[in-house]
Amino acid sequence: MKNLWKKSIERYGYPKVYITIFLILLLIIAVIQKQSIPDLLIDSLIRIGMNSILVLAMVPGIVSGTGLNFALSIGILCGILAGCIAIEMRLVGLTAFLVAVLINIPLAVVAGYLYGLLLNRVKGDEMTVGTYMGFSMVSLMSIGWLVLPFKNPDMVWAIGGRGLRVTITLVDKYDKVLDHLIKFKVFDRNLPIGTLIFFGICCLLMWLFLRSKTGAAMIAAGDNQKFAEASGINVNKQRMIGVIISMILGGIGIIVYAQSYGFFQLYQGPLMMPFVAISAILIGGATAKKASIGNVISGVILFQALLTISLPVINKMMPEGNLSEVIRIIVSNGVILYALTKMGGNE
């Protein structure tokens, strides 16, 4: 037994093992509380799909050696901007979603390129710089949302006629276009098959990319900079590619998130979003230097299932206050903290 414990810690790392145990405990309590287990599982599945691409966006950053992308909010801002432009063009349905994704790509490429230029000059401090670059861009864009010349009355404040609303609803636009793309009902609830398939395709593309020539060069650059340089790889270029892909995926990620959630959240909304994605991939067993598609899939499943299931279970145990939110803060930051201490130990 002790051996098994040791082996599983060695193989999966502390965060994954502890979170799995915690999740199983919550499920047992849920059964005792007579919560509707199918509902909990379907809710989890919806939230897993919702967050999946954002977590996937962490992979190119990590493998290219720029660490955890704390500035993913920059990509998220590009995605929200693209999503709003699609609404401004009065598009609906799948067309709107696809147009938003297409508009996002050039925006994220430009933003990622500029951010990449910066990151290549601050090697070793990417995470600290990234966090505050992300924060400052979110507040700069808050001014942007107020002054950008959007006209569609569905998005602009009713009074004054200027400035975008704090939450922009996607009902009658492209709400749930992916989630409900393929109708498949279980227990009278729609499963988000479309979103999950989209996630699967993205994972597959990422998997193929990492095995392509460019991908291999990127992994080499991230693994050992000096060695990569010696074997003729342009490390800065590889890091740049990693950052740009991460930003593009961040943008697509928020559009996928919004279609499932039903809203875009502007202003301070994207501020802490990178932290959620980072915790998820770390729970999946990634480190600041190594990540795989497997880490993404298991991480997003464990973390989002934990968040979804803990809400009703803990609220039933402790109706006062919002303890489930507290648990989210502790788990999410605790996991990041653990990864940071691990990183220091390796150096």
Binding site: R121, M127, S139, E320, G344, E347
Partner: protein, 368 residues
């Protein structure tokens, strides 16, 4: 021939010096310009601005000062200041429970907060000792993590494990502290001891004497053997190690001093505000203090008392005037508010970037 060459060199150096002086002080100079412009655009009277500024200095200076020592010791900006602030709030919540008001209340809160702050400081220090080179991101995340633990304690354990029943501070269900706790019992108890008004500007003399005392203490610490050790660590951690300084222990002391000062700073802050937002008073403490000291011209590796004072004045002037300035210039006070948030985050980001540039240049020079 020789002499002209030397002269030329001299001239070059002088020019470089002036240029460097402006470059070195570019951040405060820029902010002085922004603040003056903002004050004029806000159309607020000078008496109002001064009064507000004095109150904000009274509230914030000690918190900003608490950042100096970790910077000297090469640990960067201590974003985990919020952990110290929490210790201060623990002290205040305790005196609220025992209903000790006035000056004795402040003293009691300080006494209760100090051991907590020391323990928290040692804890923070030992984690930062395991993440050398990544102190700033670690202290930031540690701050968030501690906020979670703090909420857990005061939402769940108050009224259950910690037997407090007072309906004035406990939620109606009997478990957990209320969101806002009235601190009228100690409000202004330091400020109002002697508060003469000079030309319509009220000055809390005793509070400023306390702040001046802590400035002197920090100045004194930097001149002791301990202060020398801090500076040695800040210059080069490896050389410090070789020269026989106990690196980990010195870093622990630096961060503990910072945490204790932050706890006392938060008590001063809240005695002026008069209401404790149980779950959010401490949230922005680290960020605002860090932004303030950077605006004053400090950097990740260099900070002085003067920079802390100048920075607090400039940063908080910006805070006072930006909503009105935004309204008058752009027709929307919200723009001013977002602008100051952008300034706070932006100045931190820029300073971190500059620090990283310097590091890269230095390591390149070393390699060559």
């Amino acid at each position: 021939m020789m002499s002209t060459k030397i002269e030329l060199n001299d001239k070059k150096e002088k020019k470089y010096d002036i240029k460097q002086l402006i470059v070195r002080n570019s951040v405060p100079i820029m902010f002085i310009v922004i603040c003056l412009g903002g004050t004029i655009a806000s159309k607020l009277g000078p008496a109002y601005v001064l009064n507000e500024l004095i109150a904000r200095l009274d509230r914030n200076l000690l918190l900003v000062l608490s950042l100096i020592i970790p910077v000297l010791a090469g640990m960067g900006l201590n974003f985990a200041l919020v952990i110290g602030a929490m210790a201060g709030q623990i002290g205040l919540i305790t005196i609220k429970i025992f209903d000790i008001g006035g000056l004795p209340g402040i003293l009691a809160a300080t006494l209760i907060a100090t051991p907590f702050a020391i323990i928290f400081g040692l804890g923070t220090g030992s984690i930062l000792n395991r993440t050398k080179g990544q102190e700033m991101i670690t202290s930031l995340i540690l701050g968030y993590f501690a906020m979670g633990l703090y909420q857990l304690v005061f939402l769940l354990l108050m009224g259950t494990l910690i037997p407090v029943k007072d309906p004035e501070i406990i939620l109606p269900g009997g478990i957990g502290l209320k969101n806002a706790i009235d601190l009228n019992l100690i409000k202004y108890s330091l400020d109002k001891i002697w508060q003469p008004a000079i030309m319509g500007v009220k000055i809390p003399v005793v509070s400023f004497i306390i702040i001046a005392f802590f400035c002197a203490v920090i100045w004194f610490i930097t001149r002791t053997k301990l202060g020398q050790d801090f500076r040695a660590l800040g210059q080069d951690i490896n050389i410090a190690k070789v020269s026989g300084i106990d690196v980990d222990k010195t870093r622990l002391i630096a961060i503990t001093i910072s945490t204790v000062l932050a706890a006392w700073g938060q008590i001063m802050f809240l005695q002026n505000i008069g209401t404790l937002q149980t779950y959010s008073s401490h949230e922005q403490v680290g960020m605002f203090a860090v932004a303030a000291i950077l605006v004053g011209g400090a950097s990740v590796t260099k900070a002085t008392i003067g920079e802390a004072i100048l920075g607090t004045i400039l940063f908080h002037t910006l805070f006072i005037v930006s909503p009105n300035a935004g309204k008058n210039l752009l027709g929307d006070s919200q723009i001013g508010e977002f602008f100051r948030a952008f300034i706070a985050y932006g100045v931190i980001a820029m300073s971190l970037v500059l620090h990283a540039f310097q590091k890269t240049i230095m390591s390149k020079a070393k390699r060559d």
